[in-house]
Amino acid sequence: MPTMTYLQAISDAMRLEMRADERVFVMGEDVGVFGGAFKVTDGFVDEFGPERVMDTPLAESAIIGTAIGAAVEGLRPIAEMQFSDFVSCGFDQLVNVAGKMFYRQGLSVNITVRLPSGGGFSGGPFHSQNPEAWFMHSPGLKVVAPSTAEDAKGLLIKAVRDPNPVLFMEHKHLYRRVKGDVPEGSYETEFRARVAREGTDLVVIAYGAMVHTALEATADLDGASVEVLDLRSLVPLDEEAILASVRKCSKVVVVDEANQMCAAGAQVAALIAQYAWEDLDGPVVRVATPDVPIPFSPTLEQAVLPQVDDVREAVRELLEY
């Protein structure tokens, strides 16, 4: 099995889908000749030509709107937001058009929107956000967020084939930091959670980059057996897997890199409070970014984003409770 970075796995998924299915094409700012701001589509224009690797104007509303139109006509576009932060310019197309097209007109909107998201590298307030919760709140959209190279590939292929609009939250900070064995050829990863590490005393629920933070924070906690659940998909949310872990462990720490208010973890915590109440042996604890913009200063950014020590401290506290 070849070893790939998270970024290479994403490229691989798109390349395979484009080779296998003529309806699949990519579009976005600088995805063509330049190969994408992060080089995810490097070399694509040479292999597939400019008609299937389309450079677009700096207009997210137009990118997503065009993708929706192409999808309604039967194509399978993959639209790239150069940074997930810019998706707010395409908000109306996603929330009001893509998300409601099937409900209103019975038309499938088979688009995949790639959203390079997350912070941790001093990108500042416009290049570090985690906007997934905006779209979780909006019916008709699926939201997935891989944490490993293998899942990045499988979830992206699954997203491209899914007849619904899927937002693919790819974490920029994982692009080249995370490597792993990635199966060759095409495979789909279901939109379900994954137990990243089994445990019995406490479960840390996370997704995206925070899965790695959680694993590192709980790797050695004086013999405590800490489970880490990688959600992988936020919509649909794998409620069954969440509740199964909570029932087993009875103590939960939910970690979000996103701002805390109404984040994905808030939904997870609410779910647990309602359906796993009788299995809880302590309060549901959340670790998330406070409701402030992501600072540019490296020191301040570290203070704001959940760090390994923050998660470890929260886990220790709850274990002792």
């Binding site: 009875s250 359906y275 009788e278 299995d279 042996d281 309060p283 409701d291 402030v292 401290e313 409770y321």
Partner: protein, 464 residues
């Protein structure tokens, strides 16, 4: 402090555990190799724990004490002031002013968040609800327990005051309950203990499972009742899918049918001799006799659906099979389950043929290897829990059939027998009760009694 100073020694604590402290109030004095200075509280709250005693030297950045910032000033300490929030609530005029300025309120909130994040090391927030201070408020003996601990206590009938807590402030944690249960003899309610050591061949109460064990219909995420309990729960177990399915079928039967039970006594002394000769159990002989008797009473070899009574030419005989504890699922607790495979056209089989078929079906039932066709379409059911020594039962009808025969233990009893000359004598005979539940919507008691009497006569005259 941290730039040029590496460590410091606590000289004095000016506040004690339990004291209320205001933000920036001096709580301790420390001495370093450069200067002596005071330590101010980074936040208002109640001093919850002192971590560094007077005289101890620690590195810069070490946590000296914990302040419960969620605590509220109480009456116990006369030095305590009331918080601004309370002032605002008590004085409407001031509250109005506060409400007006949302921008500033927001900015303040953000600043506090930032401060909290920046000063995490010095004022860790403690998990609120049951800080020692909170539990002390409950007074002597008043302990609070988490939902899972309460549930486990209810399930195992535990007195939680007997369990030593190892959590914060002596709190009883789930681990403490599990450890306590480990030391107890395994007898608690709900553990499903007391299962018989040896499993008898067949079992009672045949739930005809109309749709095979169909998964319970429910929205995937919406389960209040857990699906699969972890082994660690030691006794708290949800019903298995099969038990749920059986339960629904049984309740539905009792709700649907006008269930009556008639019992007839039968002397199986001759049957015993016959079965020994053939090397089979009682069941295939009784089954054969039942089949023959049903041919004479077609009204009992029938199904009733709504207003339609259907009688059958052939006898499609259901035999309730206990899945006992061989079921390869984690059906902890109540365990088991049963299934009713059907022998189609059972009238075509001899006693030996029936014995072979019953054995085969029971084995495959326990291996989960029955086909759907083999568990549907029955016209009459026999259930046979007699191996446990029970002598009478009132089985639940396997819908939509109209009757179910229950065969009980065969026991040697002194009974009055009459010889060919009409003289009575007391003899030891192998006796049993034939119990049949039947549906009063489909037939009446006289027919049920006549059927059972005919069956008993047939068994008592069984050719040896």
């Amino acid at each position: 402090m941290g730039v040029s100073v590496a460590e410091g020694t606590v000289v004095e604590w000016k506040k004690q555990v339990g004291d209320w402290v205001e933000a920036d109030e001096v709580i301790a004095a420390i001495s370093t190799d450069k200067i002596d200075t005071d330590v101010e509280a980074p936040a208002a709250g109640r001093l919850q724990e002192i971590l560094v005693d007077v005289g101890s030297t620690v590195e810069v950045g070490a946590v000296l004490a914990l302040i419960a910032t969620d605590a509220k000033p109480g009456e116990a300490h006369s030095s305590e002031g009331t918080s601004e929030a309370e002032v605002a609530l008590e004085a409407p005029g001031e509250a109005g002013e506060l409400q007006g300025d949302t921008t500033e309120e927001h900015a303040t909130g953000s600043a506090q968040q930032g401060a909290a994040a920046a000063s995490t090391a010095s004022t860790p927030l403690r998990l609120g609800a049951s800080s020692p201070a909170a539990s002390q408020r409950l007074g002597p003996g008043g302990r609070r327990y988490s939902p899972v601990v309460m549930r486990m206590a209810a399930e195992h009938d535990l007195d939680l005051s007997q369990i030593e807590g190892t959590g914060r402030g002596g709190r009883v944690r789930k681990q403490d309950v599990l450890a306590y249960l480990d030391t107890q003899p395994t007898s608690s309610a709900g553990t499903g203990d007391g299962a018989p050591a040896a499993e008898p061949p067949m079992h009672i109460e045949s739930p005809y499972l109309p749709d095979a064990p169909a998964p319970a219909k429910r929205r995937t995420p919406r389960f209040g009742a857990p699906e699969a309990a972890p082994a660690a729960a030691a006794g708290a177990a949800p019903l298995s899918r099969m038990r749920q399915s059986i339960g629904r079928a049984m309740v539905e039967s009792l709700r649907t049918a006008a269930t009556c039970t008639t019992i007839v006594e039968a002397d199986l002394t001759r049957v015993d001799a016959a079965r020994r000769a053939l090397g089979v159990t009682y069941l295939p002989v009784i089954a054969r006799a039942t089949i023959e008797t049903l041919r004479e009473f077609p009204a009992l070899n029938a199904t009733l659906e709504g207003e339609t009574l259907t009688t059958y030419q052939g006898v499609h005989l259901g035999i309730a099979v206990s899945l006992g504890h061989t079921q390869p699922t984690s059906s902890a607790g109540t365990g088991g389950g049963l299934i009713v495979p059907v022998i189609r056209d059972a009238q075509e089989l001899s006693v030996e043929g029936l014995a072979a078929r019953i054995k085969d079906l029971a084995e495959r039932a326990r291996q989960n290897a029955l086909t759907p066709d083999e568990v549907r379409g029955g016209s009459f059911t026999i259930t046979n829990p007699g191996g446990y020594g029970s002598i009478i039962a009132t089985p639940v009808i396997n819908q939509p059939q109209v009757a179910i025969l229950d065969t009980e233990a065969v026991v040697k009893r002194p009974v009055v027998v009459t010889d060919e000359l009409g003289d009575d004598a007391i003899a030891i005979r192998r006796m049993t009760y034939l119990c049949m539940s039947w549906d009063h919507r489909a037939l009446d008691g006289a027919l049920a009694a006549r059927f059972l009497r005919a069956l008993a006569d047939r068994l008592e005259a069984w050719p040896v």
